[in-house]
């Protein structure tokens, strides 16, 4: 028998609490009607060019110095380790004539820098990732070499899960629907969709999704990443061009690489650069041969999850029509979370979904389920059903997940529990705007647009990431810190994912602690250029004043630069 790791995460039995408490822990009750905000459609108005706030120069210098010290220490560590403690480095040393699994140079960042803050990532949890998330305590040993688990848990306020509309629940209509189909259908996926993996529930779910996003037809897949990664190769080849935003998700990049299509990158959300690129590519055609491209596809995301920015859909549609390109939008984060009815970017900008050729999205986030979908015109989807690898070779999406998708969608549109869906949409809109404006007023640098439920707050120096994450955990708040390579090297950040399940009081609690930690870590460096200040001076509001005035102010667009 092989040696299996001894330090496994213990299995935590569910706590014995009343159903009311459980419900409240998963989805907080609305405390006042004032804490709702009805999103208005932008009526095809394009976004203005983003203004990014930049910190003082000394912050950048400190950040680079920080990395420099880490790199030097890492190399010393490597040298000593590889000289004296070869047994501790089996991963980068040749063994029995086999090359190491990965090279010393490539893994340097992971081994010597990320490992130091490994305790801030992959924190094990248990139970529902709703309003609160139950983190399993762990003790780090030997500079995060391994962890042990005392078996206790900490309940934290959840700012980390993609639970935008708060459908991560274990009580309520969605759970009931999921439980019901387990008896009727079982849980097995049986096989690929084209062979025997399709059930009437799949057909129903696809119809609901199509209706929800406003496209004639849709298809579902069991994994969001897999949807993109195995999608483009069914209709693109070497003679096609894809123009992709520089910040597009890895799944899109993988899919494009698999398709073999030529890819050109444009600067994030820079529509003038995009137009110039399209013109240039149509005129110049393929490299060397200068034959025209077969087709040009513009790939963007609806809501960029690391920046909180949105694609500039009105301009994109205009460009796409003008130059006869096709438009693909990945709505992984925006579907459900954005727009007056939660129907994603098209809804938000007031643009007819028929203007976009392919709408893709995931069901993991707003709907509390799993998987992804692709929605497009009927003939396109029918062709894709025949041509896609996932539907012909891969597993189909499991039944209970479908039930969750259908029931959560019906709740949003008001078919189930009328009014509840509306309330969820209005709550997430309020929470997002409130937290964003409050952070700006406190003096933090925050990226993204007003209504984005993803709120990245800049930390800059890499050492502030673990400090922030650990201090927040001590204060029972679960946050996600991200750094290079997911962001530019010096722009390490913490990402707050707002949920409809949070109450206004939860956000007050969060704000007080962020304010305190931010002061200790010198994070208040904003100049107010990018929001939070109307008089052009760096905003440094008092926390009590922020909490008192922001809930009403955040409903007014004049405080945001959008």
């Amino acid at each position: 028998m092989a040696s299996v790791s001894n330090t496994k995460v213990p299995f935590i039995p569910p706590p014995e609490i009343s159903v009311e408490d459980k419900k409240d822990n998963e989805f907080g009750q609305l405390t006042s009607k004032e804490f709702l905000y009805e999103v208005r459609s932008r009526q095809k108005k394009p976004l203005r060019d983003p203004i990014l706030d930049a910190p003082p120069y000394y912050v950048s210098v400190i950040t680079y110095l920080n990395y420099l010290i880490l790199i030097i220490l890492g190399h010393i560590h490597d040298f000593l380790g590889l000289t004296f403690r070869k047994d501790r480095h089996p991963d980068i040393i040749e063994k029995d004539g086999l090359a190491p699994w990965y090279s010393k140079f490539e893994s340097f960042f992971v081994r010597r820098m990320k490992k130091r803050i490994d305790d801030c990532f992959s924190r094990p949890t248990t139970g529902v990732p709703g309003r609160f998330i139950t983190c399993i305590d762990r003790i780090s040993h030997d500079l995060n070499e391994y962890f042990t688990y005392p078996g206790t848990t900490t309940m934290c306020l959840n700012l980390s899960s993609y639970n935008y509309l708060g459908f991560a629940q274990s009580e309520g209509q969605c759970t009931d629907a999921a439980l019901k189909v387990v008896d009727e259908y079982g849980i097995a996926s049986r096989g690929p969709r084209a062979q025997i993996g399709t059930t009437d529930l799949h057909v129903l779910a696809e119809r609901y999704i199509a209706n929800f996003v406003g496209k004639p037809d849709a298809m579902v897949f069991s994994m969001g990443y897999g949807t993109n990664a195995n999608f483009f190769n069914s209709f693109l080849d070497e003679k096609c061009l894809v123009i992709s935003d520089e910040l597009n998700h890895t799944s899109i990049r993988t899919g494009l690489r698999l398709s073999g299509a030529a890819v050109r990158i444009f600067k994030h959300n820079d529509m003038d650069a995009l137009e110039k690129l399209i013109r240039d590519q149509i005129v110049q055609g393929q490299p060397k041969t200068h034959r025209p491209w077969k087709k040009i596809l513009i790939c963007v995301e609806g809501l960029f999850s690391m920046e909180g920015t949105m694609c500039n859909l009105p301009r994109l549609v205009e460009l796409k029509k003008k130059y006869k390109c096709y438009l693909f939008i990945d709505e992984a984060h925006s579907i459900g979370a954005m727009g007056p009815e939660g129907r994603g970017v098209c809804d938000y900008f007031g643009i007819d979904p028929s203007e976009v050729d392919i709408l893709m999205g995931t069901l993991t986030k707003s709907f509390g389920a799993a998987g992804g979908y692709v929605a497009a015109d009927k003939d396109i989807i029918e062709r894709l059903r025949i041509d896609l690898t996932t539907s012909n070779y891969g597993e189909s999406i499991p039944i209970p997940v479908l039930a969750q998708i259908v029931s959560s969608m019906r709740t949003i549109v008001g078919e189930l529990k009328p009014g509840e869906g509306k309330e969820r949409l209005q709550r997430i809109a309020f929470n997002s705007r409130y937290l964003r404006l409050a952070l700006q007023r406190l003096g933090f640098i925050v990226y993204g647009i007003a209504d984005s439920p993803v709120i990245p707050m800049l930390l800059y120096a890499p050492s502030k990431m673990p400090a922030f994450s650990r201090m927040m955990l001590q204060r029972k708040i679960a946050v996600v810190v991200v750094a290079y390579p997911a962001t530019p090297l010096i722009e390490s950040r913490v990402r707050f994912c707002v949920s409809a399940s949070l109450t206004k009081e939860d956000i007050d609690y969060l704000l007080r602690h962020v304010n305190e930690v931010g002061e200790k870590l010198f994070l208040k460096v904003s100049t107010g250029r990018a929001g939070g200040s109307l008089d052009g001076r760096p905003p440094r509001w008092d926390i009590d004043e922020v909490i008192r005035r922001t809930p009403t102010d955040c409903k007014d667009d004049k405080y945001f630069l959008i």
């Binding site: 028998m1 496994k8 991963d91 949890t125 529902v128 897999g226 993988t254 597993e395 209970p400």
Partner: protein, 595 residues
């Protein structure tokens, strides 16, 4: 003459005779050079401007004079900078005191810098001729793209043949409709499912599933790195590793993505992959994404593999690479398209001999092969820990849950959690699927009678089709007795007779279409054969109420030769009698269509 030459010598050492005019060197000259040298030193010490330049070079005096002045002042200024004497002496030494050579090289360097700065920034983006704005507009106007997807009515029949299964209390007999509810069938014997063990509908599993949904909800709402990994995930990884006998396991959201994410996480340019030439599309994708050099060996032919490995090893020795490349042998446990087994003991011997790592895709063999369902290693009585370096498995096949996983040692698994895209960038599995799998592994550990029963059924199904002389005229069975999916296809003769095509021909045609980048990859003979096989499926369904399925292949994605085939799978819920009846039914359907 002497005076004229002194000008250059004033600020640089004297020129060798070769450079001074085109005279042959003479003793006089050399002596003269020595003289200038002393003069030059004197003059430089006094820091006087030069007088007149050499006349031996046929250029206007005024030009020579000006340039020599410029050179002199530049040189003097340069010398004022601290530390420049070292540079000057270095340049002098390296150029053997030859000012002309220095000058020429400086000019060359400046030209090089200008040349590089002036070049178009990227290869392949060279500027064409400048276009006027009217020409640009007309080109923009002219450009007419192809439609986003190529619709083709000739394939539309495939959509109509997809069965839609309705809720039934058991998976053995199912109710289904096809073609938008126009065809309705009830109580059809299900011989198409990949859920071979049929334990996922066991009461204990369902109870666990419901309990989990009641405590965890459905979705996990986050990727593994960001609070998406729950205690249940970690526990299942532990259970999987223990059950299959490896150090560690890593969970993935979808089985089809696993190989295409694991292999590229470890390979880069220059690494070597040796793969079987009948691997499935998911592995073909993985090889394409791996960036490494891929070689194919003949399907399950160990001699071909050994020759290839020997050749590669020799080649590697010759090349004398700076670092050892990572080398993998990639194959499948039970082949997705053929249903036969890879000869694992030979593969293990070869991988040890030639220092390769072995990657086995066991999507269809885990839970099926071996007496307790532990896969191909148990089938051949080997230890997974030492025999196979990376195993990829699926929870959606024999186990009837969903998701996939990769098994291997700690170091390898740890790196997947950082470098494998499908793990890092996608939400983790729903808690209930994870718990159901843990529960099923526990059940299998105690009681593996389902696996044994499945083996018996597989063997009898195989022998029925293999020994039937009537069928042998039309079809050939490619799967092995241990496979619970019986793969069969038309014999080469029958195919040639009926459709006038062969596997090689189809492959050549599709390769040609691919290399020409034709968007609609339609091959008439292939389509007809696939359609014919579908008619066998339809006959079995209509006449005998038995559901088998075509092996759905998307020809445009295949980079290796494939043949249309049918799949007839058994599962552990069936009795021997039911299976025999189904075999007879399928046989009759085949005969009816082929005869």
């Amino acid at each position: 003459m002497d005076r004229t030459r002194c000008a250059l010598a004033a600020f640089l050492p004297p020129l060798p005779p070769f450079f001074v005019g085109r005279k042959t060197p003479s003793i006089k000259n050399i002596r003269a050079t020595a003289k200038w040298h002393t003069k030059a030193v004197n003059r430089t010490m006094k820091n006087q401007p030069p007088e007149i330049l050499p006349t031996s070079i046929p250029v206007p005096t005024i030009l020579v004079q000006t340039s020599s002045y410029i050179w002199f002042y530049l040189y003097t200024c340069f010398k004022k900078l601290p530390g420049t004497q070292y540079i000057i002496s270095y340049v002098r030494k390296s150029h053997q005191d030859d000012p002309y050579r220095t000058m020429v090289e400086i000019v060359l360097i400046i030209y090089g810098i200008i040349y590089f700065l002036g070049k178009p920034s990227k290869k392949g983006q060279q500027r064409g001729p400048e276009l006027t704005s009217r020409e640009v507009e007309s080109l923009l106007e002219e450009w007419e793209p192809e439609p986003l997807v190529q619709t083709d009515d000739r394939n539309a029949w495939r959509l109509q043949k997809i069965p839609v299964v309705h809720a039934t209390p058991t998976d053995k007999y199912v109710d289904l409709t096809r073609n938008d509810d126009r065809e309705v069938y009830s109580k059809v014997l299900n011989c198409a499912s990949n859920n071979f063990l049929q334990i996922s509908r066991d009461a204990r599993v369902l109870e666990e599933v419901k309990r989990t949904i009641k405590n965890y909800g459905v979705g996990s709402c986050g990727p593994a790195g960001f609070y998406g990994n729950q205690d249940v995930h970690s526990n299942l990884e532990y259970d999987l590793a223990r059950f299959f006998g490896t150090e560690s396991a890593v969970l993935y959201g979808q089985d089809f993505c696993v190989a295409a994410s694991v292999i590229p996480a470890f390979t880069k340019r220059g690494d070597v992959i040796v793969a079987d030439d009948r691997v499935s599309v998911s592995l073909q994708n993985a090889l394409q994404l791996s960036r490494s050099t891929v070689y194919y060996f003949k399907h399950n032919d160990m001699e071909s593999l050994e020759d290839l490995l020997r050749e590669l090893t020799e080649h590697e020795k010759e090349e004398n690479l700076p670092a050892l490349p990572r080398k993998f042998i990639v194959t499948e446990g039970l082949f997705h398209n053929l249903g036969d087994i890879a000869p694992l003991p030979d593969l293990v011997r070869l991988k040890e001999k030639y220092k390769y790592r072995l990657f086995v895709d066991e999507t269809f063999s885990l839970g099926v092969l071996g007496n307790t369902g532990r896969g191909i290693t148990e089938h051949f009585n080997l230890k997974r820990e030492t025999a196979v370096d990376i195993t990829v498995g699926s929870m959606a096949t024999a186990f009837g849950s969903s998701g996939g996983f990769a098994l291997g040692d700690h170091v390898m698994s740890h790196h997947q959690r950082i470098g494998s895209f499908a793990y890092c960038y996608s939400a983790s599995l729903p808690a209930y699927t994870v718990r159901s799998m843990s529960q099923m592994l526990g059940m299998l550990e105690q009681d593996s009678s389902a696996v044994i029963h499945l083996h018996e059924l597989s063997a009898s199904m195989h022998s029925f089709f293999k020994e039937d002389t009537e069928l042998a005229k039309y079809i050939e069975v490619t799967s092995c007795p241990a496979s619970c999916i019986l793969h069969f296809r038309l014999t080469a003769d029958f195919r040639l007779h009926k459709f006038g095509s062969s596997e090689e021909q189809i492959f050549a045609e599709i390769s040609a279409l691919q290399s020409k980048n034709i968007s609609n990859k339609f091959i008439e003979a292939y389509e007809q054969e696939d359609k014919f096989l579908q008619s066998i499926v339809d006959t079995a369904l209509a006449d005998h109420n038995v559901l088998i399925t075509r092996n759905t292949i998307v020809l445009k994605h295949e980079t290796l030769p494939v043949t249309p085939s049918l799949k007839f799978s058994c599962n552990a819920l069936m009795t021997e009698q039911e299976l025999q009846d189904a075999c007879v039914a399928v046989k009759n359907a085949v005969l009816k269509c082929c005869a």
